[in-house]
């Protein structure tokens, strides 16, 4: 009965039990668990060596050694790859505690082995996991340490009483304190005296309230300089307990603080400047909404910033210009192009004044913004309008005069021609008794000739005037002068004049071609006309650069010379003639004067009666 019970128990225990007998270690008994473990086949009288697939050669070897040595052996958490237990479904390794006990007879001789196999897979895996967890924890710890000690910040942990539990080495580098320093004593002393009380109070009240903190203060660096630091910390919460530790970091923010301080100061100064300028100044967002109007804008418009609103400036414009102003602004905001326009803007008294409105987009790291100004140009604008009106009036009068002169000279030509014909007819047909008649006839003839020349020259003046607007070109003085002289060959031959040309000093001139020809023609003609009867005329035409480096033209003769006029420019009045006995209308020099003046130059004369005259044409000064 007892034996049966024992058999039953052995059969059902959740551990593999078997006895192996004889030197070949044949199974004599194996319970169910052992059978399952070894593949489920009956094991009675099987040799141990046949189970080598599952039990591994190594274990079989050990079991044989235990049998021979006769001493027990226990293998802990031994892995059997192909072992099948009740739970096993695939070939994951399972772990067993294997106890090997030699079975001895009464003479202490070894008969066989008692094998006891216990599945410890769960325990083994748990142990393995614990081991891996410990390794991972060490790894994380190392990483945290590296991060903590390399971050450009001081990392710290304080307890609820404010005592330092941990501080990273950066604190010692920053403060220059020895590692033996008592943090709790030294740290408060390194805080700037002006900040110390506030920091102590803020930190303590945060710890009392169980919340984190974030404040800035000045901390003394190793070189004695106080630097602005930002201290931030958060409590470590273990609900529902009160926090026990605060972890945080202290970051140097000195540069940022100084920069933002400078920015604030700069902005305040700029705003003050903008508010002090008697101009309308404003700024706008990238979307085109005005976010600042200066004081003067408010004073000028008589409206508050709120009344003006983000686009209120447009309603200040003259109603006829509002649409154009708005369209242009929308376009500028869309494209980023500069905004510029001349608009009338309403003042607080209702008067519209002309303003130049300008705005430019500034695109920097803070994103695009618009800066604009409106400059009052009303006075200039009105003055310009008046001047323009006067100028137009003058130009018209001038044109009318020219036309009148031209028409008059032209219209007078025909009667003069008739008069000349009649006079010639009269002289041929009639006889005069008076002995002075021939003298008078000659005088009459002269007067008619002179009238003819005058009319021609008047017409030429007007013609010349119309050519003043011809564009300038670079002209070779030598060739132009030769051309002009070619046209005057009869006069030159008649007077037997010597003409010298010398343009080496300034061979080219940028001028209107027709104007230059007129100037040359008139001056040379003048020199020939007023030649002295006592000597052969010598005329010298030359170019040079003035003291200021601008080109000039000189025409010198050895003719009659002139008396200096009443005023400096007296000799250039129209119809004013220096030598009444020589034919000419006195229009020539006046014409010269007009040409040269109109292109920004002037003419100087240097003359000695009976010796000669020198004309100097300063083309551009």
């Amino acid at each position: 009965m007892q034996h049966q019970q024992l058999q039953h128990i052995l059969k059902h225990v959740p551990a593999g039990i078997a006895t192996l007998l004889g030197p070949e270690l044949r199974f004599s008994f194996a319970n169910e668990a052992m059978q399952t473990l070894l593949g489920g086949k009956p094991l009675q009288d099987q040799k141990l060596a046949d189970q080598v697939d599952i039990l591994t050669p190594e274990l079989v070897e050990v079991m044989q050694q235990v049998y021979q040595a006769g001493t027990q052996f226990v293998a802990k958490a031994y892995g059997l790859k192909h072992a099948l237990s009740e739970a096993a479904e695939d070939e994951v390794p399972r772990y067993f505690d294997i106890a090997l006990e030699p079975l001895k007879d009464e003479h202490d001789a070894v008969q066989g082995l008692l094998v006891f196999v216990l599945d410890v897979t769960q325990q083994a895996l748990a142990q393995q996991r614990a081991h891996e967890l410990a390794r991972e924890t060490r790894r994380l710890d190392a990483r945290l340490r590296v991060l903590t000690e390399t971050a450009p910040q001081i990392i710290f942990t304080v307890d609820a009483e404010g005592r330092f539990e941990y501080v990273s080495p950066q604190w010692y580098y920053f403060t220059g304190q020895p590692t033996t320093a008592d943090l709790n004593l030294i740290w408060p002393l390194l805080i700037h005296p002006d900040d110390r009380l506030r920091v102590m109070y803020q930190s303590e009240s945060a710890r009392k309230a169980g919340v984190g903190w974030s404040y800035e203060y000045r901390l003394r660096r190793h070189d004695g300089q106080y630097r602005w630091m930002l201290s931030r910390a958060l409590p470590e919460l273990h609900v529902p307990d009160k926090p026990v530790f605060w972890h945080g970091a202290v970051t140097e923010v000195n540069d940022q603080r100084e920069l933002s301080e400078a920015l604030r100061r700069g902005e305040a100064e700029l705003r003050f400047l903008a508010d002090s300028i008697p101009q309308l100044i404003w700024t706008a967002t990238s979307q085109g909404f005005i976010d600042y109007y200066n004081q003067h804008t408010l004073a000028y418009s008589g409206l508050s910033g709120e009344q003006l609103g983000p686009t209120g400036w447009i309603s200040l414009l003259h109603p006829s210009e509002q649409n154009l102003g708005a369209r242009r602004w929308v376009h500028s905001v869309a494209t980023g192009e500069d905004y510029e326009g001349l608009f009338r803007m309403r003042r607080n008294d209702g008067e519209y004044r002309w303003h130049i409105i300008r705005a430019r987009q500034l695109a920097d790291s803070r994103g695009p913004r618009w800066f604009g100004s409106c400059t009052d140009v009303d006075d200039q604008h009105r003055l310009r309008e008046v001047l323009q009106a006067q100028y137009d009036e003058l130009a018209r009068t001038n044109r009318d005069l020219d036309t009148f002169v031209y028409t008059a000279s032209h219209d007078l030509k025909q009667p003069l021609h008739n008069l000349r014909g009649l006079f010639d007819e009269l002289r041929r047909a009639a006889t005069f008794q008076d002995e002075e008649a021939s003298v008078m006839l000659e005088m009459l003839d002269d007067s008619l000739s002179q009238l003819d020349v005058t009319l021609q020259e008047l017409a030429a003046t007007v013609q010349e005037q119309r050519q003043l607007n011809v564009p300038a070109e670079t002209i070779d003085l030598q060739s132009v002068t030769e051309e002009v002289l070619l046209g005057m060959r009869p006069q030159v031959q008649e007077t037997n004049a010597t003409i010298e040309l010398n343009f080496a000093a300034a061979p080219k001139l940028l001028y209107g071609r027709a104007n230059l020809r007129s100037v040359l023609h008139n001056l040379i003609n003048n020199a020939l006309k007023f030649a002295s009867p006592l000597r052969e005329p010598r005329i010298c035409v030359s170019s040079a650069l003035s003291e200021t480096g601008k080109p000039l033209l000189r025409v010198e003769d050895n003719g009659l010379g002139m008396k200096p006029g009443d005023a400096g420019d007296g000799m250039f009045q129209v119809f004013d003639r220096q030598h009444p006995h020589i034919a000419g209308a006195g229009v020539g020099l006046y014409l010269l004067q007009r040409i040269v003046n109109s292109r920004g130059g002037h003419i100087e004369v240097d003359s000695t009666p009976g010796t000669g005259t020198r004309f100097t044409v300063y083309w551009f000064e």
Binding site: F289, G309, T311, A326, A334
Partner: protein, 154 residues
């Protein structure tokens, strides 16, 4: 009678479904309270003009400003007007799938939005023109928004 114009940014881009629901909700509420106006939406940019009695649109704006679906709500105008400029309420946006939207009443494609009504003052019409440009001119706003987005990383 008052009108209010504001701009804001959607917290996350609105899907066609979101826009559809928003359209329905606004149409219902606005018809009920006799609120008229127009809403522009594109790429997370929102702008709206609403007109109605001050004791209606004042609280309505407060409610809109507190709505968690958008942020940076920025009021550009809030003032009395003599008459309405919009006969009803409508919404203009680019749907991803335009098919389903064409039949909807109160929906407009941004290209179809009419010129700012002449009943608005010149200053208010300019606000409306500028917000429309800011909402729909996406190439520019996308390029200017890019740096701020990338600077948020790491």
């Amino acid at each position: 009678m008052n009108h209010i114009i504001y701009m804001s940014r959607a917290v996350r881009p609105l899907s066609d479904q979101d826009l559809h629901e928003l359209l329905e909700q606004c149409r219902r509420d606005n018809a009920l309270h006799n609120v008229t106006g127009i809403l522009f939406y594109s790429h997370g940019n929102i702008a709206q003009l609403i007109e109605g009695e001050p004791d209606i649109i004042g609280p309505l704006y407060e409610k809109i400003a507190r709505d968690g679906r958008h942020s940076n709500v920025h009021k550009l105008a809030d003032k009395p007007i003599t008459e309405r400029s919009f006969p009803g309420w409508s919404m203009a946006f680019h749907p991803l799938e335009p098919q389903g939207f064409h039949e909807l009443t109160d929906f407009l494609l941004p290209e179809a939005v009419p010129e700012s009504p002449s009943t608005l003052t010149i200053a208010d019409a300019l606000i409306l023109d500028l917000v429309r440009q800011a909402v729909f001119n996406t190439e520019r706003s996308a390029s200017s928004a890019a740096p701020t987005l990338s600077s948020g990383g790491a």
